[in-house]
């Protein structure tokens, strides 16, 4: 049973039991509206209507799963950062809600939880969300108002779009595009346009420099990123995540150990991990929003829920980036049997995210010229070397192996 199959069953059930009867009933009761309602009812009864409905369900489920993960990732980041820094992190958010309730009810706030405060900080995200929504949305006087509003829309929508693009397993997938990874990378590359737009429209020098840095970073990192992915595509012969994971599941190494892509293409893996870190703009590559010199860079002028959504979108991008790395190099959802593949996938994704969190709180930020130098002078040649290795594995070695009957290694 795949996610889409499940959604289709649900769509059939809802269409049969609810939507079509209601629309038909409407047609009978209100004759003036009979034509569109009846037409809709017929459409929902047909295959096309049910498939559309199933898509809507599937996308919503994938979106909900992604959003749940987003909350978990943010909480994880906060807690791990706090532990690294010898702090406690969010501890009393439940407490705060209770205080708010008591305040609204007109009671005097009381401190009641004495002793054990652990485990009630997880709804801190909700408290932050409420705070952000209640804040004023400020648009600077001399800003380009249309582009100022468009920037967040481009950035956030392209980021949220990412959530439904990658499959959690071969059965849990909202989208099964044959060129899936290309679509994901295309969606990834939309966001810097939003960054550039917001940076320029803010009419602020800091924001503009942040936007320019984002563009420069995009230019220097997209190329090695895609080149390092090319090796994986060559090996799998497909852009489809399902095919790529299947190829890794079947490939074996010494003693029958699984040979996920990060073993033969170690150089590509390193290049990809650095580039995806730059792509999702996390420390040490968060130049566009360097708070020390650029005062949060391109987000300087944004406030309230827009700023909050920027932050959330960055975590979504981080999650999506980790998912892409898992699919490409860590064998996706492949793993021993008793654990379901979706859990395997999420485990690997969270492993990468935790690694990133540790990196983020361990190192300073790199300078602009150094990041460009790294991208153009180091990562680009390395990714080309990686492609050469893969070509040797896929084309040259089997060719000679056929001639001189070498053992089949790859």
């Amino acid at each position: 049973m795949t996610l889409f199959g499940l959604c289709k069953t649900m769509a059939e059930l809802t269409a049969d039991m609810f939507i079509v009867p209601v629309l038909r009933f409407q047609r009978n009761i209100f004759p003036p509206f009979s034509y569109p309602a009846g037409d809709l009812a017929d459409w929902f009864a047909s295959e096309g209507g049910i498939v559309t409905l199933a898509w809507i369900y599937a996308v919503n489920i994938a979106f909900a799963v992604g959003m749940t993960n987003l909350i978990l990732v943010i909480h994880l980041e906060r807690k791990i950062a706090a532990r690294i820094q010898d702090r406690r992190g969010p501890m009393l958010s439940f407490r705060a809600f209770r205080e708010l309730g008591e305040d609204l009810a007109g009671e005097a706030p009381t401190w009641r939880f004495k002793g054990n405060y652990s485990g009630i900080g997880i709804i801190q995200n909700m408290a932050d969300g409420i705070k952000a929504i209640t804040k004023e949305l400020i648009i600077p006087n001399k800003a380009d108002k249309f582009l100022f509003s468009m920037g967040p829309i481009i950035f956030i929508s392209s980021s949220v779009f990412l959530l439904v693009l990658f499959p959690l397993s071969d059965r849990f997938a909202a989208s099964a595009a044959p060129a899936g990874l290309m679509v994901i990378m295309a969606a990834f590359s939309i966001a810097p346009i939003g960054v550039l737009t917001s940076g320029w429209a803010s009419n602020n020098k800091y924001s503009m420099i942040g936007g320019m840095r984002s563009a420069a970073q995009l230019m220097s990192y997209e190329i090695p990123l895609l080149l390092s992915m090319a090796g994986v595509f060559l090996l799998a012969g497909s852009y489809n995540p399902v095919d790529i994971v299947e190829q890794q599941r079947e490939a074996t190494w010494l003693f029958g150990l699984p040979m996920w892509n990060f073993i033969p293409q170690f150089i590509g893996f390193i290049v990809f991990m650095i580039c995806i870190l730059a792509e999702v703009e996390r420390v040490p590559f968060d130049l566009p929003e360097a708070e020390a010199e650029l005062v949060e860079g391109w987000t300087t002028e944004y406030s309230g829920i827009r700023y909050m959504l920027f932050l959330a979108a960055e975590y979504i991008r981080g999650f999506a980036g980790a998912a892409v790395a898992t699919i490409l190099f860590l064998g996706g959802w492949a793993g021993p049997w008793p654990v379901p593949p979706e859990i395997w996938f999420l485990l690997k994704v969270y492993l990468i995210i935790i690694f990133w969190i540790f990196i983020r709180w361990s190192v300073p930020r790199i300078r602009t010229d150094q990041i460009l130098e790294l991208g153009w002078k180091k990562l680009l040649p390395l990714s080309l070397i990686n492609i050469l290795i893969v070509i040797f594995m896929v084309e040259i070695y089997p060719y000679f192996a056929d001639i001189v009957s070498l053992p089949e290694v790859f």
């Binding site: 791990i80 532990r83 690294i84 010898d86 702090r87 406690r88 009393l92 540790f358 361990s362 190192v363």
Partner: protein, 259 residues
């Protein structure tokens, strides 16, 4: 000396720093973090902590040195009505003649106070103390003005701290202009002035000749508070560098009720 810098490899980008952070992560996960959950837990201030002021009224003699040394002038002496019990218990009541109908006690505007601790240090009897209470924030400015009576604490509650400072000057008389009004005697908080330095005949400004007494200062009791200088109507008193009793510290008498 660029050569003494260690050359770093590629792996040092994240391996070295992450050694420290991962160690700290496990340390604070399985141990207790350094931070304190402030409103719920509080760290204990040391006994010397300079928090909100409190005045032990039983020891206060109303000399006003605390107001003198306050750099921000946030401490003022305010007249208060002492109850009979307070009069009996107080040092002022038992050891100094009850000349004044009204005693003076310090009142503090904490909006101006910077908790420098001079008032505590210079207090000759150890009546001015600083408690370890620091949550003084309030919603209005007026709420930060603490009247004299709200500063009162009992002797048992606050420990007295040793003196560290003293006023190095004492009053001196210019006997030529003294008019013998004995205001200084009335206002002296330690009762160190007596009008007995021989009656002399003196011609006043009005031309009359009067037989008047001059004040005599007992510097073994004087604390150098300069109250007499302030109240002198003829400006015949001034402060001079004369050692007085406060340089060795006044002995704090035990209230009679306990003795």
């Amino acid at each position: 000396m660029a050569s003494d810098r260690k050359n770093l490899g590629l792996m040092d980008i994240f391996v070295n720093p992450m050694k420290v952070t991962i160690k700290q992560f496990f340390k604070s996960t399985f141990g207790k973090p350094t931070t304190v959950m402030y409103p719920l837990e509080k760290r204990d201030p040391p006994p010397t902590y300079r928090g909100m002021n409190a005045v032990i009224w039983d020891l206060c003699i109303g000399c006003g040195i605390c107001g003198e040394v306050c750099p921000n002038k946030c401490l003022k002496m305010k007249p208060v009505d002492l109850s009979d019990e307070e009069k009996d218990k107080s040092w002022y009541g038992s050891h100094v003649a009850k000349k004044k109908s009204k005693a003076e006690r310090p009142a503090i505007n904490f909006g101006h106070c910077m908790f420098c601790g001079f008032c505590e240090d210079y207090c000759p009897t150890g009546a001015m103390t600083m408690t370890d209470f620091y949550e003084l924030a309030d919603t209005t400015r007026e709420a930060l003005i603490y009247p004299a009576r709200s500063m009162k604490v009992d002797l048992e509650e606050s420990p007295t701290l040793p003196l560290t400072n003293f006023m190095m000057e004492s009053p001196a008389l210019n006997s030529e202009t003294c008019i013998g009004c004995s205001k200084c005697v009335d206002n002296c908080p330690t009762n160190c002035i007596i009008m007995d330095e021989g009656a002399v005949n003196k011609e006043l400004k009005s031309g009359k000749v009067r037989n008047i007494e001059n004040p005599f200062f007992d510097y073994t009791i004087c604390i150098g508070c300069s109250t007499c200088v302030k109240v002198c109507p003829a400006s015949c008193l001034h402060m001079e560098p004369i050692a007085n009793s406060s340089s060795s510290g006044l002995t704090i008498p035990v209230p009679e009720s306990e003795a």
